[in-house]
Amino acid sequence: MDVTTRQLGNVLVVALQGRIDQATAEQLRLTLEPHIASCSVDAPLILDFSGISYISSVGLRVLMLAARQVTAQHGQMAIVGLQPVVREIFQISRFDMVFKIHESVATAAAALATPAT
């Protein structure tokens, strides 16, 4: 799994590429750890999944733990660019109800910049 990061204003975008499964889930956890720790309402995090072709249950669990930590520290996080297969996996596992999911980095960044009402 390949990872790249870029700053978009106050938003950090973490772009992931490859498969998230038993072999790479721990790498995902370690990759996200510092970014989750610094995620806040003023410094939102976007996970760009457009390069992810598959995610297994163990990978979804890593995302759940990240989401819970972000919520606990009142941060903001969104996922963007789900490929069709991954989108279905999110739906079937009900992870689409856990995350704010957007089509693109631009729409997610705009949504995260809008104060919640």
Binding site: A25, E26, S57, L60, R61, M64, I89, S93
Partner: protein, 321 residues
């Protein structure tokens, strides 16, 4: 081998309400509009063509299974898994088959939570002298649990009044039991107070009964051990009570698993059939049918080799292997 499901619901029995039945009738009659249903045959054909969630129900009894060798004979030795509320109807069926002719029942318990033992006081063969019931369990307190649920003031007939000869066999994990032509092994599972899965082999067929079992997704060794326990099974009966999202968040440590993990483990184990079992009591038939459709879709999306057949258990289901 025939696997017969007498109870399939998780945690507590449920029953259809009048409103549920009304919805089913409305759906069926709506679909019938414009069709010519003027003979019994045409009506039966139409009813059989309806989706299962409309024409039937996944049922509401708690866990109870019966295994039968597929030799056309019932014999006098029976294999059962768990004694949830489904054991009442099973007991009636056994009486109808065998009357008061002495029979031997081997019951393999997943654990002793109430939804898995509550049918025993209503299991008619337990009241018939000459019958022998051997309850196999990984829990040392199994005898006390069965006696306790019939103690005053919980039940009017004390355990000591049961007419059958009742024995308890405390099983150590790894011990291989041989009962007639069945060979059975047990595996400890993650659940409050522990639970045990059972792997049964007979006539080159393998059935795994693995309910009330939570899986730690990050534990690679545990995953491997379960894949070995499920290896090449013809049928895996699997606790699919929660969605994966619930199982790893608000319902983590509640001792249950999900459809997603069931598919992944069965794929890893090269199992042939997965039976979604221990249904969430809050789910109606339409929701259980939706989970089944989605699970089949997930299997198709993630398939890497032979297809895994997936079915959803219901009270009255029979699977021939």
């Amino acid at each position: 081998m025939i696997v017969r499901f007498w109870g399939t619901r998780g945690s507590i029995p449920v029953s259809l309400t009048s409103e549920h039945i009304r919805h089913k009738l409305i759906a069926a009659l709506t679909g019938a509009a414009g069709q010519r249903l003027d003979t019994a045959g045409a009506i039966e054909h139409y009813v059989d063509s309806l989706p299962f969630a409309v024409r039937g129900t996944y049922g509401g009894h708690s866990s109870c299974l019966e295994i039968q060798r597929d030799n056309g004979q019932y014999g006098d030795t029976h294999i059962l898994f768990d004694l949830g509320s489904g054991a009442r109807a099973l007991g009636q069926a056994l009486l109808a088959r065998h009357g008061k002719t002495p029979q031997t029942y081997h019951v393999f318990m997943s654990h002793l939570h109430w939804d898995h033992v509550m049918g025993f006081p209503f299991f008619a063969p337990a009241y018939i002298p000459g019958n022998r019931i051997i309850i196999h369990s990984g829990h040392a307190e199994v005898a006390a649990a069965f006696a306790q649920q019939q103690d005053h003031p919980g039940f009017p007939v004390g355990f000591e009044h049961l007419g059958a000869q009742i024995e308890f066999d405390i099983v150590e994990p790894g011990r291989r039991l041989a009962i007639t032509d069945f060979f059975i092994t047990m595996k400890k599972q993650r659940h409050g107070g522990d639970s045990y899965g059972w792997r049964l082999e007979c006539d080159d067929r393998v059935v795994v009964y693995s309910t009330d079992s939570e899986h730690r997704l990050e534990d690679t060794d545990e995953r491997k051990r379960f894949a070995e326990f499920f290896a090449d099974a013809d049928l895996v009966v699997f606790d699919a009570m929660y969605s994966l999202a619930d199982a790893v968040s608000v319902k983590a440590d509640w001792g249950h698993s999900s459809n997603i993990v069931g598919v992944e483990l069965c794929q890893l184990a090269a199992a042939r059939h997965l039976v979604l079992f221990h249904h969430e009591p809050a789910h109606d038939d339409a929701q259980i049918a939706q989970v089944l459709d989605e699970t089949r879709r997930f299997e198709a999306l993630t398939r890497d080799g032979r297809a895994l057949e997936i079915i959803s258990a219901y009270d009255g289901l029979e699977v021939s292997l």
